[in-house]
């Protein structure tokens, strides 16, 4: 059952159409991320759900009610902004209480709810601080508590982690997911960071030029991209020009590879295949049944990962391998075999 429904949304600013034919159904309690580069329209869609922009055409339903023409102040949404947007003149307590006061809740109930919310973000000790006395991470948690305090129908997060440092970003990301699951609130999260989107969401919407290119679980998006853009944008790829030899095999990097998964291809057609760097290894692992000969160009030690650049038939290929105590860094100039399984070969869709 769909709780948030976006039907055929289009949005134009003058001659620029920034969102086109956008359809989405979000189930109650689901966590959906909009992922895409800047200018792809993801924030505009979020702002239309919030009520800060009106769609040029299409409709938005929340809980079965048409809210397309409803002003933001009557939509019962909780919104968290990239720039925190805490009210500078109010203490933490008053910030969290703001939505409750506006709703006309009695004083005693407000106090209870505020305490409960501050508990949820573990900032009860800072209730009397003002925003300028807190770090970015603390401010963003207060913003989250403020958005959740009036028990909104929807939680909307507009790149809430982009302004924070890496460490706080990860911990707040986990907090957001924990709180979202605890409260079971339907959430839409906008980000340009694929790791964020993949790690936190039930489903990811990859957006490109105002359209939803692919909607799926994080694993589907990463492992089975359905458009060329998704494949390029999410994760790193080694791409190879290839040719369909027969319905059961494709030819690339000087080898015929029998691949029973792609039987719908026309023989003779040029296609592009791809391999994720982490699917490759310089030593055969159990299950690896294919290999390409190459030469090591250079290698980098990244702590948990060893990243090697290999020249395969004149093409540069990235290989990521987990570091182990007995692992040695590949030496530049050495000959090497790049191992993988046929199941890891992605045939990229020809659509952009």
């Amino acid at each position: 059952m769909s709780f948030l429904t976006l039907k055929n949304i289009t949005k134009s600013f003058g001659p620029n159409t920034v969102v086109r034919d956008f359809d989405l159904n979000v189930a109650s309690g689901e966590f959906v991320s909009f992922l895409g580069p800047s200018g792809c329209g993801k924030t505009t869609v979020l702002r239309m759900i919030a009520g800060f922009e009106t769609p040029s055409s299409g409709s938005i339903h929340v809980g079965g009610m048409d809210v397309t023409a409803l002003p933001a102040s009557r939509r019962k949404i909780g919104m968290v902004f990239q720039a925190y947007a805490l009210f500078p003149n109010m203490s933490v307590r008053d910030n969290v209480a703001f939505g409750l006061k506006i709703a006309g809740m009695p004083r005693a109930e407000i106090d209870t709810r505020v305490a409960e919310m501050l508990d949820l973000i573990s900032l009860g000790s800072l209730a009397d601080r003002y925003p300028y006395q807190m770090s970015g991470g603390q401010q963003q948690r207060v913003a989250l508590a403020r958005a959740l305090a009036p028990r909104p129908n929807l939680l909307l997060l507009d790149e809430p982690l982009s302004a924070l440092d890496a460490q706080i970003r990860t911990s707040l990301r986990d907090d957001i997911r924990r709180i979202q699951q605890e409260l079971g609130i339907t959430t839409v999260f906008v980000t340009h960071d694929q790791e964020e989107a993949l790690s936190i969401s039930d489903r990811v919407v990859v957006m490109h030029k105002g359209r939803a290119d692919q909607i799926g679980t994080p694993a589907q998006i990463y492992n089975r991209p359905t458009t060329r853009f998704v494949a390029d944008f999410v994760g790193k790829l080694n791409t190879f020009e290839a040719r369909v030899e027969s319905p059961q095999s494709i030819f690339f990097a000087g080898q015929n590879i029998h691949d029973p998964r792609h039987t719908d291809l026309t023989p003779g057609a040029p296609i592009t295949v791809a391999l994720r760097p982490e699917a490759l290894s310089l030593r055969p692992r159990p299950g690896d049944d294919l290999s390409l000969p190459g030469r090591v160009l250079h290698s980098t030690f990244l702590g948990s990962v060893i990243r090697a650049q290999i020249d395969v038939a004149g093409q540069q290929v990235s290989v990521d391998m987990f570091n182990r105590a007995d692992a040695t860094l590949p030496v530049a100039g050495d000959m090497a075999e790049v191992w993988f399984t046929r199941g890891d070969v992605l045939v990229l869709p020809s659509v952009m």
Binding site: G51, A72, S73, I77, M79, N89
Partner: protein, 275 residues
Amino acid sequence: MSRRFPLLSTLIALAGAAFFIVPLIATFNFSLRMKRGELSFEAYRSVFDSDVFLGVLGFSATASLMAILMGVLIVVPTAYWVRLRVPRARPVIEFLSLMPLIIPPVVLVFGYVRLYGSSSILPLTMTEAGTNVLLVIGYVVLSVPYMYRAVDNGMAAIDIATLTEAAESLGASRLRTIVFVIFPNIRSAIVSGAFLTFSISLGEFVITSLLNRPAFGPYLVQMGQDFAYQPAALAIMAFAFTWICMVLMEAFATRKPGQRLLQWRAPRSVTKAKS
């Protein structure tokens, strides 16, 4: 590492300071010599004794307060609306707000007298109340450059658009947003604008005199023609008043929420995370 004492710069600074301070000291000294042979505040006492002085001061203060009220009511919604809805028009509005500095007050008041004179469809200058209204409007125009700049800077310091959206997402109407969120956050800016308006209007001469109002500016000039010691006393008081205004402005402008207006102890050191 020791640096040489910057002799030349210090001399220049002292000469500059003397340029401002010496006439002030001389005026102050002169204002104390009304009684022959001794230093006294006699001139000040005589100024305060005069009913006319208190009358004109009251009139000017009232007119200035009205000008502040009117200026705030015009400037705050305008600046808010421009920042929120038509940010591209901001340079134009900013330029318009500077017009009163370009057009001399004497031109402005002549325009008023011509426009609202006896032959006008709105003959404001024909009645006392009408002329007072015109005077207040004149003060508002003169103070717009300062008021607009102060309020606009105040709004620049906070993210008006996002704060408005945050308040709206929490259910607040536009009016409640302005009252509970926008206004408290630009209060210090409004107060600075108000003090500037007050100090401009209080001693204003050109418009006031040409509209023939019994206000402080013309009174000061008249006193200067008729008496010797009292004008010096008035000048010193006017300076003192302006300085008090500036100190208050500073106090309001640098105050952070949650602090008392005047903090005598050193503020608690708070690490503000920049991000």
